[in-house]
Structure formats: C-alpha cells, structure tokens
C-alpha cells in the first residue's frame, strides 16, 4: 500500500490565509500531557480561531469534520459543527449520509449518536425515523451489544412514537435473538418494547401479553437453559406483572434435576422441557426454585435451604458465601 501523503496544514493553505490560528493555552506543566500530532495541533488551532471569530461557513464544516475524524470525542467540534449546520441551513440528508459513515467508524463514541439525535430532531419526519431504524439495525448487526446504538434505537422509537415504527419491533427482536440468544441487550430491548413503551393496538389484553412473554422465555430456556439473560427476563416479567414465582414452578422444576427419561414425550407449550443436549441441573433453575420455596415460607423454607446448600457446595460454588448468606437470611425470618 502506498502511504498517504502528509496532509497539507491549514497554515500552508491559501484559502485559510485570512485566519490567524489560535494556539492552545498552556502555561503550567500539564498533567498527563498528550503529545498531539502536527496535523491535529494545526487543525485545532484553526478551530479555536474560527470559534473565537464566530465564523459559520462551508469551510468551518470541512474543518470540524477534519477535527472530528482526528478525534471523534472532541465535543466542542461537534457542538460547533451542529450550530454551523443550523445557521447555514445546511442540507440534513447530506449531513446524515456523512454521519452514516462516521457512526460506522466510531460507533463506540457517544458524540456520533448525540449528533444524529440532534439532526433527527431538526427534521422529525416519519420517513427519517424509518430510515434511522434501518441504519441502526445495520450497525447492530456489526456490533450486537453496542450500548449507545441500542439506546439510540430506543430513543428513536420513543421520540417519534409512531405505531408504524413500533409494529416491526418484536420481529426485529426475534431476528437479533436468532443471532445470539445470550445477547442481554436484545432481552432488555424486548422488555422495553413490551412493558415500557405503552400499550399498542392488539396488545390491550395484558394477561394475554404476559402469557405470550412467559411462553417466549420458556421456549428460549428449553433451547438454552444456562442463559442468565433469559432467567432474568423471566423474573422481570413475573415481578412486573406481580405474579408469584410459583406461577412457573412446574416449568422450572424439570431443569433442577437430571434429564427425565420420558421428557421427550411431553408436549406442553406452557412447560417446554429442557432440550436433549442441555447441561442439567441448571444452577439458575435451582436458584429459582429455591426462591419459589422461600416465597411460600413455613415448612418450604427447609426445601429452599437444601437447594441453596446444593448451590453452595456443588452447582455454583463461586457464590458459596452468597448462598450461605441467603440461608442465614431465610432462617432468621
């Protein structure tokens, strides 16, 4: 590969000759000084100058883009770019197209998402929102657990709050889930869509929705029982709906013991049995069942204690001290 030629500094460009660069103020011996490259130093000297002069022009857009490419976390450059776009009434589709490239490149940087959010707020059309969800889905296929990207998706859905946008969301969750059932961001997103975004048409019967979610998570667990995300979801759905954990005791019990010989013959959508390859007993199921017994109280507490002991000594020894604490707490009630 031929190395790229060194960039021509702004200081050497005729079209910037009217600007007097402003150097960074640095008097005392700086803490953890960062040795900037000549290119970065030059570009930021000119950025300080245009900010100081209040210039908002096409070349400021080029300059801020340059600084952002050198340091995508430079929040002042982002902010000034945004103000310049607003002042110039610069075409937003051009800016969004540039952002598609930058978001892809620097997708772990908060500022790229914040800037997109500001742009979408300037032009809140249903078409822009739909296009945004398509873009976000593309990024999530590259980086399936990216925190900012998931948050951005939730923001788009909530900000536009358009039934047409929400309508495809559970299908999107399924598609992402099929890629990785242990992706907690997907489980979290499902919880957000089902329980925290209002009641959508067709979802008014909340009992039915809860039953659907319970079947969904149980089926998932039957395919991959040792999945903490799914167990947390199961707990979350029950607690959110104020249902006792005992509601799913029959389902959970099958996961707390070694494989049953006749398990394959059971066909029960409400209680799908663990798949043939599952590693049993499953510690999360043992823990869940102990919670069911603790909830019941009285004589059942003994059964909970036995299960916690089995976790402490056998199934989940790393949390031995925690299980012993649970035993102490339950016994002192």
């Amino acid at each position: 590969m031929i190395p790229a030629p060194p960039p021509i500094l702004y200081a050497a460009r005729a079209e910037w000759a009217d600007i007097v660069p402003v150097e960074q103020y640095e008097k005392a011996n700086p803490l953890a000084p960062i040795l900037y490259s000549a290119e970065y130093k030059d570009a930021t000297d000119y950025l300080r100058a245009v900010v100081k002069a209040g210039e908002q022009s096409a070349r400021v857009l080029q300059l801020t883009e340059h600084v952002i490419r050198l340091n995508p976390a430079h929040y002042s450059a982002w902010q000034y770019r945004y103000e310049t776009i607003v002042a110039l009434q610069s075409p937003l589709d051009v800016e969004l197209a540039l952002m598609d490239e930058l978001a892809d490149k620097y997708l772990k940087t908060y500022q790229v998402w914040h800037h997109r959010r500001l742009l979408l707020t300037l032009q809140p059309t249903p078409a822009a929102a739909a296009a945004e969800l398509v873009f976000v889905a593309k990024i999530l296929r590259e980086d399936e657990k990216n925190y900012h990207t998931w948050a951005h998706r939730q923001w788009v859905l909530a900000f536009f709050n358009d039934d047409a946008l929400w309508a495809g969301e559970l299908d999107f969750v399924d598609a992402m889930m099929n890629r990785d059932v242990r992706n907690n961001s997907v489980w979290h997103h499902r919880f957000f869509v089902v329980f925290h975004s209002g009641v959508r048409e067709g979802e008014e019967d909340r009992e039915r929705v809860v039953r659907r979610e319970l079947i969904y998570v149980k089926q998932n667990l039957s395919l991959a029982p040792n999945n903490a995300s799914a167990w947390n979801y199961l707990r979350g759905v029950l607690e959110h709906s104020r249902l006792p954990f005992a509601t799913v005791a029959a389902f959970v019990t099958a996961y707390t013991v070694p494989h049953l010989a006749d398990a394959a013959d059971l066909v029960d959508v409400e209680n799908p049995p663990p798949g043939p390859g599952a590693e049993l007993p499953c510690a999360a199921a043992v823990e869940f069942l102990a919670d069911v017994y603790e909830e019941a109280g009285g004589e059942s507490t003994d059964k909970a204690v036995q299960l916690w002991k089995s976790l402490a000594d056998e199934h989940d020894t790393i949390r031995k001290k925690y299980w012993e604490y649970r035993i102490r707490e339950a016994m002192s009630k």
Binding site: Y25, V51, Y147, W150, A151, H189, G198
Partner: protein, 383 residues
C-alpha cells in the same frame, strides 16, 4: 499446587502510570476508542494516574514536590468563571491563549464531570483549596440541572421528560445521564452544600434508570450495566435524606445484590452486563456497588484477586483482560477494587505483602485519608 497468586507488581504499576503522567504519545491515546473521551482529556487521565499512585501509597515517593506543585497549578488553570458560575474544564484544548483570564463562552466552558475530577485530584495532591470559588461552584451545579420537563400523558415521552430531570455535562447542553448526577452529588457532598440541586428531582431520575434486572442503566430505560449501577447506588447513598428513609427498599437492595453477585464470572472477574465476559474495570464498579450495599463479604475475594493478578501486563499496568494492553483507567480501577477486596494470601513474605492495600471510601472513590482531607479543607462556609 501452584499458588493462584502471582506477585502483585506494585512497582511495575506505579511505573506504568508514571510514564503516562509524563506524556502519552498521540498514537497511544486511541488504545480504547470506547473511552476515547476520557483519554483525550488530560484531567481524567491524570486522575487515574495520580489516584493509582495514591492507592499504592507511593505518590510522595514516586513524584517530586515540584511536579505536584505544577500539577496543582495546572488544574487551577482549568478553573474558569463565567455567566453560569465556576467550574473546571477538561483541559485547555478549547481555550485560546491569553494573558488575562476572560469569562468563558459557550464553547470553552466548564464541564461537570471534570469539575468533580479536578476537586478529587486536588485533594489527592493535598491542595489547600484556598483558590476554590465555592459560591461559584454551587451556581455552576445549579446551572447544569435541567429545567423541569413538560409532563406528557403519552407514556412514550416519559423517556424525554426523564432526561430533563437530570444534569447536563455543560450548562444547558451536553450529555445528560447518571454520570452527571453522580458528579453533581459528589461536588455537593464535598462542599457540604446541597443548595444548588433539587435532590428530589434528581433522585426521581435515578429511579427511572433502574431496570428489571436489579441494576441501573446510564439513562432511563437503558440496559443495566455495572458503571451506572455503581453511580446510581453511590448517588442514592450520598444524597441527604430524612431520618429513617432508606436509599433503597429492602426488596430493591436484595435484587441489586442478586444481580451484582451474579456478575462475578467463573474466572473470578466481574462482567458489566449479563452474559458478557469479565473486564477488570467492573471489579470496581460492581465491587464498590456491593460494598455500598453492605454486601462486601459475599464475594469470593481470592478468585477475584487471582483474575486481576492475571490481567497484569508484564511491563507494568493492568489490562481489562489477560493478554490485553494496560492503561491507567484499568490500572486505577483494579487497584481500587483490591483495596475493598484484599485477598487472603497465606504467608508473611513479600508475596503476601504485595497484596496489602490502603482503605478506600466507596462513595467518593478515594482513599479514606484523601476524603478526610476533603472534609477538612473543601466545605463551603455556611453563614
């Protein structure tokens, strides 16, 4: 059987952060783009380096008085005054060179997170805080708290309204999330002056960040993660409250402990989110959260320390996972975690001694001695 404990290379780690203090080449800045923001800002990087030396108990021995004096002077140069009160900038990157200090503008103003970082770093450097503009700081914190948002009956807009309950990084704009609440609360706690914030409104925001898993997300309805969970719990415990009022209900506390304790991976380290791999920084975020909840005795401290031991880089510094490159952020947070979870290493020799640490205040994230210094020198004079 081989001992699971390597030597904890104190001198090597001190050397790593010391090298960073004296100058990072530009290329090294981008080691971890997810924390890019922190690394470009000298002040945040400086805090991790100086903090690590302090936790190792070698700040005096490994730096000179001249250095410490000039660092204090540099941090004070970042204190800036203007229409929204007084605070600290992350560094002079947006500041034009000028002989006399001018009031800041909207483009080079102070930053809430950096203001907290500056105060803490100054305390570690045992500054006398004679230059502190206490009233200006209170005003700045107040300017960062968002105006009360419009209540909307459409529940989807709750997400938008919630953001308006929090603080922004900069007055009137910038990021708004749990980090800013924590920094604002720490500043109020250090000043012992809460008149600049509407505590109830901020706590309402924190509660909207709690998730069904028992942890907290960075803003309302975000996925639970270790960092925000620490920050939420520390904030709830820092906030002044009436007698008899608990920061969490007993059920919430139980559920948070459950989630945090399950974040300890088989390898001994902590993960930040369910089903993610362990990362050394979550030893602090999850570990300190458990400590705040009074559940520090429930984790397997030996397995935990052996994971951090395996994250040590052979030439000094601690990385997020074995085999990765070290950086001051992971080095500081790993040592901070070990101060709360010192392993029981058998023997009296130098190996066991290498795992001996100073004690840490989990709420402010500083050595207890440093916090005592803050209590003595920072509080606002209430007339």
């Amino acid at each position: 059987m081989e001992s699971p404990f390597p030597n904890f290379a104190r001198a090597g780690h001190a050397g790593h952060v010391n090298r960073c203090l004296s100058g990072l080449p530009g290329s090294q800045v981008e080691i971890d783009s997810s924390r890019h923001a922190d690394f470009r800002f000298s002040l945040a990087l400086g805090f991790y380096c100086i903090g690590a030396l302090d936790l190792l108990g070698v700040l005096q021995a490994k730096t000179t008085e001249t250095d410490r004096t000039s660092w204090r002077a540099w941090i004070w140069e970042q204190q800036t005054q203007g229409p929204h009160g007084t605070g600290f900038r992350p560094g002079p990157f947006a500041t034009p060179d000028s002989s006399s200090p001018e009031p800041y503008t909207d483009h080079d103003g102070p930053h809430l997170v950096m203001t907290y970082t500056a105060l803490l770093t100054l305390a570690i450097l045992r500054d006398d805080f004679s230059q502190l503009d206490r009233a200006g700081l209170v005003k700045f914190v107040r300017a960062c708290q968002q105006e009360d948002g419009r209540q909307d009956s459409n529940c989807c807009h709750v997400l938008m309204v919630n953001l308006s309950l929090s603080f922004s990084m900069l007055p009137k704009h910038g990021d708004t999330d749990l980090r800013t609440v924590y920094c604002a609360f720490c500043i109020c706690d250090m000043l012992n002056d809460w008149s600049g914030v509407d505590v109830e409104r901020a706590i309402k925001f924190i509660r909207t960040c709690r998730t069904y898993e028992g942890g907290y997300g960075q803003a309302s309805f975000y996925e639970a993660s270790g960092g925000p969970t620490y920050i939420a719990l520390a904030s709830l415990h820092l906030a002044p409250r009436a007698n008899g009022v608990l920061p969490l209900t007993p059920e919430q506390r139980k559920k948070s402990i459950h989630w945090l304790i399950h974040n300890q991976d088989k390898c001994g380290g902590f993960r930040g989110r369910t089903e993610k791999p362990a990362d050394a920084c979550y030893s602090f975020w999850c570990g300190a959260a458990l400590k705040i909840l009074g559940a520090a005795d429930l984790i397997d401290a030996e397995l935990h320390a052996s994971f951090l031991g395996s994250c040590q880089f052979k030439y000094g510094g601690i990385a997020k996972a074995p085999g990765e490159n070290p950086d001051p952020y992971h080095t500081y947070l790993s040592i901070a975690a070990l101060t709360m979870y010192p392993p029981n290493v058998p023997g009296e020799g130098s190996l066991s001694k290498s795992w001996d640490f100073e004690t840490l205040d989990p709420l402010l994230n500083a050595r207890e001695e440093t916090v005592a210094w803050i209590r003595e020198h920072v509080p606002a004079k209430i007339n």
